[in-house]
């Protein structure tokens, strides 16, 4: 039993994980407080013959305290989350010179279109590979996410990337992997009877390896 | 605490309005949300695909519907008259105005059915013969919104017809106006919704 986040291999993942642990600590403390309090009260104030409860309708001071403290904690968390969210998803923070890929989800495959050696989508040397996503490490990657039929969700756990692919929309998603390795794209949104089987391999190459891989694919695609 | 002051005081028993009327208001809130859902979707879809909408009057017969709108507004007036007659115990007035309201409502429905038939059989739109619910978002939203309104009118006309029959049996009077008032609330609501629909579907 290994209940942990999978290792993180992306730049955004660092701060996402950090936020996760911060929230875990805060909620953990609240959890202990509440659950501990309940157990303690159950033992301490359990009914006894002839005992009489303390008559009170409440305390405005306490009400204010437990309104304001959660509100402050939550406001701080919210503000921090909003900043991070804007960093990750805000359209003004989309990297300008990222390497672009087109990823099209369909029942039950991911088709990835590569920009080819000219590094531009929509040109003659583009080629499409089914269920294999290769890209270089330490480089800004933007995928243009589309769907042919129903809503899918593009999920690479190790890169902390998740975005729904919606038919009729092209949604840009960007990330930057920090290590080479082999991962998987999973579909995270129920998309039909093959939902669980809609996986694709992800290979993060070094820059040189990626060029080599792309060159090896291009002639096949040119036919 | 708060209740200390009220202990033993003259009891509170809700609003000074009879229950059926409160119930109808509450129900109308729900109806507002139903039409808000439809109209909201209409707005979103239309903004999202403005080029698939026809110019006002290109497909829809605005003059006929404008006349129909006028009929519905008239029926609201006669409904008010019917309630006023009931309050005064004017039996002849109750019968006359309830009957008029029913007929106006029924005529409205008749015109709408005629309009639908014309659209489905004789209009062509975007290359396909017949303007139907399957004719793009324009057709889909048009028939859904006007159709549901028409359904509400139909329910209203049925209730009005029943109220009219009761009027002939002498059911209503100065001491029995609640039914007419509550039905009137519903009828005015349906009228109001139509004015909004007519504006956004036919005129804009």
């Amino acid at each position: 039993m290994d209940w942990a986040l999978p290792p993180n291999y992306s730049t955004f993942g660092v701060v996402i994980d950090q936020l996760f642990w911060i929230i875990l600590v805060i909620t953990g403390i609240a959890f202990l407080l509440v659950e501990g309090g309940i157990v303690w009260f159950c033992i301490k104030y359990r009914g006894r013959e002839g005992a009489r409860a303390h008559y009170t309708h409440g305390s405005n001071r306490l009400e204010i305290i437990w309104t304001v403290i959660p509100a402050i904690i939550i406001a701080v968390l919210g503000a921090y989350s909003a900043l991070v969210w804007d960093d990750i998803k805000g359209s003004s923070n989309r990297p300008a010179d990222a390497l672009e890929f087109l990823v099209v989800g369909k029942q039950f495959e991911w088709n990835i279109t590569y920009p080819g050696v000219d590094e531009t989508l929509g040109t003659a040397d583009d080629f499409t590979v089914r269920n294999q996503f290769h890209f270089p490490v330490n480089e800004d990657i933007t995928i243009l996410l589309e769907s042919e039929d129903v809503i899918h969700s593009f999920f690479i756990p190790e890169l902390r990337v998740k975005q729904d692919a919606v038919p009729g929309m092209t949604i840009p998603v960007w990330f930057d992997a920090t290590q080479t390795g082999n991962f998987e794209i999973a579909c995270a949104e129920l998309c039909g009877l093959g939902h669980y089987y809609m996986m694709a391999s992800v290979t993060v190459h070094s820059a040189a390896d990626f060029d080599a891989w792309q060159a090896s694919q291009a002639p096949a695609a040119a036919q | 605490m708060a209740h200390a002051a009220t202990a033993g005081r003259v009891p509170e028993r809700g609003l000074d309005v009879y229950t059926q009327k409160v119930g109808m208001w509450v129900f109308l809130c729900s109806e507002v949300m139903f039409f808000a859902g439809l109209i909201g979707s209409y707005v979103v879809l239309r903004f999202g695909a403005a080029d698939t909408w026809a110019e006002p009057g290109d497909v829809l017969n605005v003059p006929v519907t404008a006349f129909n709108t006028f009929l519905l507004i008239c029926s609201s007036v006669t409904m008010v008259k019917a309630f006023a007659a009931a309050q005064e115990g004017d039996q002849r007035g109750i019968k006359l105005y309830l009957l008029l309201t029913t007929l106006l409502g029924a005529t409205f429905l008749g015109v709408q059915v005629y309009e639908y038939i014309e659209l489905v059989l004789h209009k062509s739109w975007q290359g396909s013969h017949g303007f139907t619910p399957a004719a793009g978002l324009y057709g889909a939203t048009f028939f859904t919104m006007t159709g549901f309104h028409g359904f509400h009118v139909l329910l209203g006309v049925i209730c009005l017809a029943w109220a009219t029959i009761r009027a002939w049996r002498g059911h209503w009077g100065a001491d029995n106006t609640h039914g007419i008032e509550v039905l009137g609330l519903y009828w005015h609501f349906v009228d109001l919704v139509w004015i909004i629909l007519f504006t956004i579907v036919y005129l804009i």
Binding site: A188, G192, Y197 | H3, R13, G14, T19, G37
Partner: protein
């Protein structure tokens, strides 16, 4: 005048009782108490069905490669083939488990049963404002139930697009193989909407206009407050779902394309409409539970509810905020990320009233004289479990973290801590608590306590590990997790969860046995077995048709326990005249 009329009707109702046929008395009854019991039987049945679907689902998740489904042979080949649950059947299980539990079990049990039963009794009136509409609201649920059950047996099987019915998957039969099943479920939803709206009109009108003399707004029990606010939410949210559902039916049947991009429609529009309904729905599913808990905790602690006004304010603000947070279900949906920011803010705000309520429940227990009977145990269990559900919600509200945990088992854990640990615990508590009033007999305490501990332990064994599975990254609604590299190593956890789920399901039968056994063999209940203050306990158990010979007059707030001026007992009923009990008590 209204009073006189009401009283006159009350007398009429009382006299009518003897002349009614069996059919009028038990089947097409307009008595709110009978309707409540009809709802109770109905919802318990669907609770079992929903549970059964979950068991099948859990079997598949734990042992995806095994096949050999026990009794698999009784299923048609289109559901289970060679002992394997087929993926399309699995999707139907996922979808219908959620749908049945939300719409046919929990929601009607919270509202249909208890709003019907408690509103007239706790407010001190003879019946609902519109008894015949009330009857209709139950009978509208019957076709909904029949359509739902029938949908499993039509060609293509039951709906399989998730309980959220995301279009286009739900709108295009060619993409799922499910055609009629989906339409039947949507039709059922329209009936459920009708039932819910009719019910809400009744609850709201009755609460506004038919309170007993002296029952001011701030003297209403918190149960009534929560049910009243819930009714408002349902009244305003359900019609939006009905409208959306009808549009979806049109997309399926008559060739419109509201939600289909090929025809210019927008899949995200469905999500906006659904969650505009769906988030208030979440509160519809929890507010009444909060009300029952407040009530039971107060009675069980022999103390007034701590911070009654704050509780009411929290309810009202939840209701208001509930309508502007729907977008937090859609952070990863492709909606403009800037909208995500707005929804984060409103979402975090809605956490505050929930925190207030939790602390006030603890405040109610503080320095109390806790009577730990089954109902009280479930109420305390509610607070403990709801707290976990609320805290795990913070992870989702933080948008960056949501990127990772969205659509994983973390969400599944969260929703079940709120819906099962929350709503269902409170519902069990409510049934143990009001059973004597409903049926005139007590439920067996020993069985009740065993039921609580089994439920509590198994529940946590089932759903706590799901947080872990979610952290590992297991996606929701997947039929077989074993093919994924990042999901290696969670098989044991999934198997443990499944065994615990079987235990949880089985412990439900102990409850069912207790429920039916006590109908005949339970100890006879006196009028007020818990020494409670609210009006329903001041009538016989069970109350007669028409509830009151004479409408009670209310002199006190709802939870006057352990009042220092009242001697020889620790409670003061709402309708006890202050000068009779003790002159000094009149000041409270």
């Amino acid at each position: 005048m209204a009073t006189i009329v009401a009283e006159a009707t009350g007398q009429a109702i009382l006299h009518e009782e003897h002349e009614q046929s069996f059919l009028r008395k038990y089947i097409f009854s307009t008595d709110h108490k009978v309707i409540a019991i009809q709802f109770l039987i109905y919802t318990l049945f669907f609770l079992m069905i929903g549970g059964l679907l979950a068991m099948l689902m859990r079997y598949q998740i734990a042992w995806p490669a095994r096949g050999e489904l026990p009794l698999g042979g009784i299923f048609p080949e289109s559901m289970v083939a060679s002992g394997y649950i087929l993926p399309e059947f699995y999707n139907a299980l996922v979808t219908m488990h959620g749908s049945v539990m939300v719409f046919l079990a929990i929601m009607p049990m919270l509202v249909g049963v208890w709003a019907n039963y408690l509103i007239p009794l706790q407010l001190g009136t003879h019946d609902m404002a519109f008894p015949r509409l009330n009857m209709l609201s139950f009978w509208a649920m019957v076709p909904a139930g029949i359509l739902t059950l029938a949908s499993f047996f039509v060609v293509g099987g039951a709906a399989g697009a998730g309980w959220t019915l995301y279009a286009p998957l739900s709108a295009r039969p060619d993409l799922t193989g499910v055609g009629l099943g989906q339409i039947l479920w949507l039709a059922a939803l329209v009936f459920i909407g009708l039932s819910s709206i009719l019910g809400s009109v009744n609850y709201i009108t009755t609460t506004i206009n038919m309170r007993a003399p002296g029952m001011t707004w701030m003297r209403m029990p918190l149960t009534i407050w929560s049910l009243f606010i819930t009714a408002i939410l349902a009244l305003l949210a359900m019609p939006v779902l009905s409208a959306a559902g009808i549009m979806l039916i049109f997309d399926q049947t008559i060739g419109t394309s509201f939600f289909l991009p090929e025809g210019g429609g927008q899949p995200l529009l469905w999500q906006h409409l659904f969650w505009f309904f769906g988030h208030p729905e979440v509160y519809i599913l929890i507010l009444p539970a909060m009300g029952f808990t407040s009530e039971i905790l107060s009675v069980g602690s022999r103390k007034p509810v701590f911070g009654y006004k704050a509780m009411v304010l929290a309810l009202v603000s939840i209701a208001f905020l509930g309508f502007i947070v729907w977008g937090h279900h859609m952070f990863q949906s492709g909606m403009n990320p800037m909208l995500g920011l707005t929804f984060t803010v409103s979402t975090l705000f809605i956490a505050v009233p929930s925190a207030i309520k939790t602390f006030n429940w603890m405040g109610t227990m503080w320095r109390g004289n806790l009577q730990l009977h089954s109902a009280m145990l479930f109420a305390i269990g509610f607070v403990a479990m709801f707290a976990i559900g609320g805290l795990s919600g913070v992870f989702m509200a933080s948008t960056p973290v949501d990127i990772y945990i969205h659509d994983t088992y973390f969400i599944v854990a969260h929703i079940h801590y709120v819906l099962f640990g929350g709503s269902l615990f409170a519902l069990f508590g409510a049934i143990y608590f009001w059973y004597p009033k409903m049926f005139g007999r007590m439920m067996n305490e020993t069985m009740g306590k065993i039921h609580f501990w089994l439920t509590f332990v198994f529940f946590n064994l089932v759903f706590f590990p799901m947080h872990g599975v979610g952290m590992v990254g297991m996606m929701r609604r997947i039929y077989d997790s074993t093919g994924y590299a990042h999901l290696q190593g969670i098989e044991d956890t999934n198997a443990i969860i499944t065994w615990a789920a079987f235990g949880l399901f089985a412990s439900g039968f102990l409850f069912a046995f207790n429920f039916f056994w006590s109908l005949k063999k339970g100890r006879k209940a006196e009028a007020n077995p818990w020494n409670a203050t609210t009006l329903e306990w001041q009538t016989p158990s069970p109350p007669k048709h028409g509830n009151w010979e004479e409408i009670p007059v209310v002199y006190h707030g709802p939870h006057e326990y352990s009042h220092p001026d009242v001697e020889d007992k620790d409670w003061l009923a709402q309708n006890e005249r202050p000068d009779v009990v003790s002159p000094a008590a009149g000041s409270h």
